[in-house]
């Protein structure tokens, strides 16, 4: 559990981060979202003390972060940044093993960990271990960057716009990968983004920052349904709100018995995608499948009713 207590950073008397308090549960993804200059990166960087807070405190699993030397603290916290920050003169294996080497792991333990992580990120170790960052695609570089941040099994992973430099298609894939890996490893992740779509998609909880203040900290559904301020409402996007809400729920919630024609959708498909499929193919209902077996249908009316009930 990460507890942030009234943390403040002043630059020339102006508060970049203004008395922010929040608690992050172990094993969850928390997305910090805001416009540029909202203080979201500063908030993140105060957690591993790349920026020293002017006042307030942070504690990880009950231990205050000020109890350790800065570099020792940072070795226990994963850190992934925009543009990956890989060392160009080191191989993929050497990059991923950077923190374990700082921690003095044995060579064999490091090698096993590197292979394990490359497998986890769907990069065959024999093929990628000895390559240099310049020989990888943008998406691969980003994956190595995240693998490096995870290498020492940190208590906490901080990510500062990790997907900011990727094109939209690679970005969607990277987000799905991150979610899968987080569920597999049970990591605790704090992720900074300027993209509300990404925050809603990835975050178990979303923290919205505006001018240094934390204006709302809640689940994605609550943020969309009940934005605390006009700013949050603007961030979640006026006309897109119902669609964003629908994107949070899977088909399995609305399955009913009855006939439906056309191609079946897996039950984990979001209501938004099902709505889109209905509109595109002119159907009133779509069949829903589980492990390839059709288990029922979801009707356009049911989706509409759900969207209305959420307001």
């Amino acid at each position: 559990m990460i507890e942030i207590d009234k943390i403040t950073k002043l630059y020339d008397g102006r508060a970049a981060v203004d008395a922010v308090s929040m608690t992050v549960e172990t094993g969850t993804i928390t997305a910090i979202v805001g416009t540029s200059g909202s203080g979201k990166s500063t908030l993140l960087r105060m957690i591993n003390r790349l920026v020293e807070p002017s006042s307030g405190s942070v504690s990880i699993n009950g231990e205050p972060t000020t109890g350790l030397a800065k570099h020792i603290l940072r070795r226990r916290i994963g850190y992934a940044i925009q543009g990956h920050g890989l060392f160009p003169h080191h191989t993929v294996a050497c990059n991923i093993g950077a923190v374990p080497r700082l921690l003095g792991w044995s060579k064999e333990k490091i090698r096993n960990r590197v292979d394990e992580l490359l497998d986890l990120f769907s990069m065959p170790p024999d093929e990628f271990r000895n390559r240099f960052p310049a020989e990888l695609s943008g998406g691969q570089q980003q994956r190595v960057g995240v693998a490096r941040a995870l290498a020492s099994r940190p208590d906490l992973l901080l990510m500062d716009e990790p997907f900011g430099a990727l094109d939209p298609i690679i970005r969607t894939r990277a987000q799905a990968d991150l979610k899968r890996i987080q569920r597999t490893l049970g990591s605790t992740i704090l992720l900074v983004t300027h993209d509300m779509e990404e925050a809603i998609h990835l975050g178990d909880r979303v923290a919205v920052m505006d001018a240094g203040r934390l204006v709302q900290y809640a689940t994605p559904a609550e943020i969309i349904a009940r934005p605390a301020t006009d700013f949050v409402a603007e961030m979640v996007g006026g006309v897109d709100r119902p669609l964003r809400l629908l994107s949070l729920f899977p088909l399995s919630e609305l399955v009913e018995d009855g006939p439906a024609s056309g191609e079946a959708l897996p039950e984990k498909t979001s209501l938004r995608d099902a709505l889109s499929a209905c509109l595109w193919s002119g159907r009133e209902a779509v069949p829903v499948s589980r492990d390839g077996q059709v288990i029922g249908r979801v009707t356009l009316d049911a989706i509409r009713a759900r969207a209305e009930s959420l307001q």
Partner: protein, 389 residues
């Protein structure tokens, strides 16, 4: 030139052939009655009997012709070697036949034609090598082979009757002493400048204020003419030697090795410091941020990230310093600092051109070899990712 009508000629090859043939028209060697008087030029074809000169001339012209075809770098390289062989052949044959007919104190030296042909053939060699784009280790091999060939020719005694070799004969011991002294001046000042410059460069990289005040001072030092620098050094060091106890025993004096060495160190500081700063600046900001965020200490960041990434630029700075110092060290001869400059200034005083060359040629060779070796080191130190993309 009839070759022009043929297609697929290498443009530089044509230029080298034209320049080479033109150089053959200039006097190949000079014959003088003694070591002081001005000599008389002798063209290549009248160096000796046709039987002895024809082979050399044929090799020279054939070598230049082999340098013509485009897209055949190995053939052109071979042409350069054949040309060099002809060049040496003519020199050896010319020396013995010209001296055979002259008086006891007569001296023969290579003339303008020889030097021009040497340059042209070197350019052909370099051009062909560049087209072959050999790896760093191959280049080192070529360099060592060339040096071994040069050493073999010089020690074989075939050129012993040349004027410059006679100047060497009468000063063999002092020549090697001067060589060692020259190396001490150039490499010692490089080492001292590196010892002072690296820390200064690292500190300047960390502190903008230091950088802004230090670099202009070092730039200013660089603009002081070398003779003026010695002039400034003489009274200062003489005063230090006279007043600081123990300084004189340590070799501090107004003239001699110490002022020359100090001046070279001062000239070296700007390239060393500026390139260290530039090399450290070459670290991508994201990589630096990641290194900080993952918990590297300041020293670990410097040793594992910044220095390895900056090494090629830092070595390039050392290369500039080394070549610059080998040349500048000649001036040390003027204030009794030793080195090859001693012969240059003795030769100037005696108007003995060959004595000047005895100082100048080894200096040029030393600078050339150092530059090539440093280039190889710079390439070897570049990150692999750079050479693969």
């Amino acid at each position: 030139m009839s070759q022009r009508s043929q297609p697929a000629l290498s443009p530089p090859g044509v230029l080298f052939a034209v320049l080479g043939l033109a150089s053959l028209l200039a006097p190949y060697m000079t014959l003088a009655a003694n070591r002081i008087v001005a000599g008389e030029g002798v063209p290549a074809w009248s160096l000796g009997s046709p039987g002895t000169t024809l082979g050399g001339l044929a090799a020279l012209i054939g070598g230049l012709a082999l340098g013509l075809p485009a897209g055949r770098p190995a053939l052109r390289l071979g042409g350069a070697f054949i040309g060099f062989a002809g060049l040496i052949w003519l020199l050896v044959a010319g020396t013995s036949s010209l001296l055979g007919e002259a008086g006891e104190f007569a001296r023969v030296s290579p003339g303008a034609g020889f030097w021009c042909l040497l340059v042209v053939l070197s350019l052909l060699l370099a051009d062909a090598l560049t087209n072959l784009s050999p790896g760093p280790l191959t280049r080192l091999g070529v360099l060592l082979t060339a040096l071994a060939a040069l050493a073999a020719i010089l020690t074989s005694g075939a050129l012993a009757d040349l004027s410059i070799m006679q100047e060497y004969e009468s000063r063999a011991a002092s020549f090697w002493n001067a060589g060692v002294r020259h190396l001490w001046l150039a490499f010692g000042s490089l080492g001292a400048a590196a010892l002072i410059g690296f820390p200064l460069g690292i500190l300047s990289h960390r502190s903008d204020r230091l950088r802004r005040s230090l670099l202009p001072v070092l730039s200013f030092l660089q603009t002081i003419p070398s003779l003026a620098m010695f002039g400034i050094m003489i009274p200062i060091l003489a005063w230090v030697a006279a007043t600081v106890p123990g300084a004189r025993e340590m070799g501090v004096a107004g003239i001699g090795f110490m002022p020359a060495f100090l001046a070279l160190v001062l000239y070296s500081l700007l390239p060393v410091v500026a390139n260290t700063v530039a090399g450290l600046d070459a670290t991508p900001p994201a990589a630096f941020e990641a290194a900080r965020g993952m918990g590297m200490t300041e020293l670990q960041r410097l040793l594992r990230v910044e220095l390895p990434l900056g090494l090629p630029v830092i070595l390039a700075g050392l290369r500039i310093v080394l070549v610059q110092n080998i040349g500048l060290a000649v001036i040390a001869g003027l204030i009794g600092g030793g080195g090859f400059g001693t012969f240059v200034f003795q030769g100037l005083n005696q108007t003995a051109t060959d004595l000047i060359l005895l100082g100048a040629l080894p200096t040029v060779l030393l600078a050339l070899v150092s530059a090539i070796v440093m280039d190889i080191l710079v390439e070897l130190s570049s990150p692999q990712s750079g050479s693969q993309r």
